[in-house]
């Protein structure tokens, strides 16, 4: 398929790997963070690390929307879902995220009307078709997903729908990056910027990384050659002593982003003063809530929610995984008590979570490598 097949050529991948290895300075260890969970998924699925020298380490970042949802917000959603007369809608993986008292899937099994949708516009359809029910959409995601929620709310308002509301958990990408760069326990050399978030926000929001922290950023696509080329571009910058933003994914990411998408987000959302991120704690101005013009559609205002903070399970080390401090397999419960079938932590739920991606694709290669060592 066009735009897919040409980015999966094994010969070109090997050639890129050779070029990357040639740029690696002897004795230097490189740590490159891929911010986005989609990139983490590609890295493990296509074995990108096999094409890199051992001194180039990929560190997995916090850009998995499901993974950063704190347990308290899951419990808040479940509280709404359990109300009479409510149809609670959310994306697929979100249904399996454990809260303090089970998941949305558990609530569904116990009788709550919880349905998964691929689009908030489908939740809106459910609201139109069930005028006697309160339909709630549990919105998660970064700037890739926020425009679809905003567009849905604008359509709901234009139609005058009274039985539709959104529990907004949308987060923004720049504040956690700043938090990571300020983190004393993580030393990084460069960033692979998120591709689809950038189709919306463009490349400018990352300017502070080279300017204030002296580290290069390359916005990358999601095919194997996209990632390898982005790593080559970063290694070239590091070899030249440059720190700039470059756009490897120019076929989909305009430098200025999607201005119309940014306008609809501006119309519907405003920044929350602070928001809790799993593993990263409270980060100021890092999440979105609805503006006053859309207050009638705010599920948190329409329904009582406990708003209680729930501590993560002691055994779970998702926080360290999300910050790139430990690798998935270094977690105490990885692959034993915590698996994709019975996840303890969020990183094992979503296919973009580093633990799930590693469990599904990476662990066999690792055990094979260890056996051969």
């Amino acid at each position: 398929m066009k735009f897919v097949d040409e980015y999966r050529d094994a010969g070109l991948a090997r050639a890129l790997g050779t070029k990357i290895a040639a740029l690696a300075e002897p004795g230097r260890h490189y740590k490159i963070m891929e911010v986005c969970g989609g990139h983490t998924h590609t890295i493990y699925k296509h074995g990108i690390e096999d094409h890199l020298p051992e001194t180039v380490e990929l560190v997995h970042g916090p850009g998995c929307p499901v993974c950063v949802i704190p347990m308290g917000r899951v419990d808040d959603g479940i509280t709404i879902a359990r109300r009479d007369n409510v149809i609670f809608t959310c994306f697929g993986d979100m249904m399996r995220v454990p809260g303090g008292d089970g998941s949305l899937l558990d609530a569904k099994a116990q009788g709550a009307d919880v349905r998964f949708v691929y689009s908030p516009l489908d939740a809106l359809k459910i609201a139109r078709n069930n005028p006697d029910k309160d339909v709630v959409f549990y919105a998660i995601g970064f700037e890739t997903t926020a425009p679809s929620t905003a567009l849905t709310l604008m359509r709901a308002k234009a139609e005058g729908l009274k039985n539709f509301s959104v529990m907004c958990n949308h987060v923004t990408i720049v504040p956690p990056l700043k938090a990571l760069l300020e983190s004393p326990d993580l030393r990084l050399d460069a960033f692979i910027g998120p591709g689809h978030v950038s189709t919306v926000v463009g490349c400018r929001p990352y300017e502070f990384i080279p300017k204030d922290y002296g580290q290069p950023v390359v916005v990358a696509g999601f095919e194997p050659l996209d990632l390898l080329q982005a790593i080559l571009m970063l290694m070239t910058q590091l070899a030249d002593g440059r720190a700039e933003i470059e756009n490897q994914y120019a076929r989909a990411v305009p430098w200025e982003g999607n201005t119309r998408a940014l306008e609809v987000m501006q119309e519907v959302f405003r920044l929350r003063p602070y928001f809790e991120w799993r593993g990263l704690g409270f980060i100021s101005q890092s999440a979105l809530s609805l503006t006053d013009d859309y207050a009638d559609f705010d599920a948190e205002l329409r329904f009582d929610v406990p708003g209680v903070r729930v501590a993560d399970p002691k055994a779970c080390q998702c926080g360290e995984v999300l910050k790139g401090v430990i690798k998935p397999w270094e977690c105490k419960v990885f692959g034993t008590a915590c698996t994709p079938e019975t996840p303890i932590g969020t990183c094992m739920v979503s296919s973009e979570g580093a633990c799930a991606a590693y469990y599904n694709f990476g662990r066999f290669a690792r055990s094979k490598a260890r056996a051969g060592a």
């Binding site: 969970g37 994306f91 689009s119 516009l121 679809s148 567009l151 296919s351 973009e352």
Partner: protein, 85 residues
């Protein structure tokens, strides 16, 4: 991959062209490349790589014409794919 291996998605939903095998794309930063079959506004008929057709909200990238390539996330087109860039 054959269409029978894809997750079951309601053909009348905005998710019709958004089926992926590796998990829930809307829970992540995943966008699906599609081709516009028939232009429209606010929705246009599009086709994904598996030949699945469905409506996509195109307000954020409109106007769109048949044959153009779009990236879709959660039933909403968020970008165009430009050849040669």
């Amino acid at each position: 991959m054959t269409p029978s291996e894809l997750p079951l998605v309601d053909p009348n939903s905005y998710g019709a062209v958004c089926a992926v095998v590796d998990g829930c794309l809307t829970c992540g930063d995943v966008a699906v490349p599609v081709t516009v079959v028939e232009g429209g506004d606010p929705d246009a008929l599009c086709e994904d790589e598996h030949g699945q057709r469905g409506n996509v909200a195109v307000e954020l990238v409109s106007p769109v014409r048949a044959g153009e390539r779009l990236l879709v996330h959660g039933g909403v087109a968020i970008s165009r794919i430009e050849e040669g860039t």
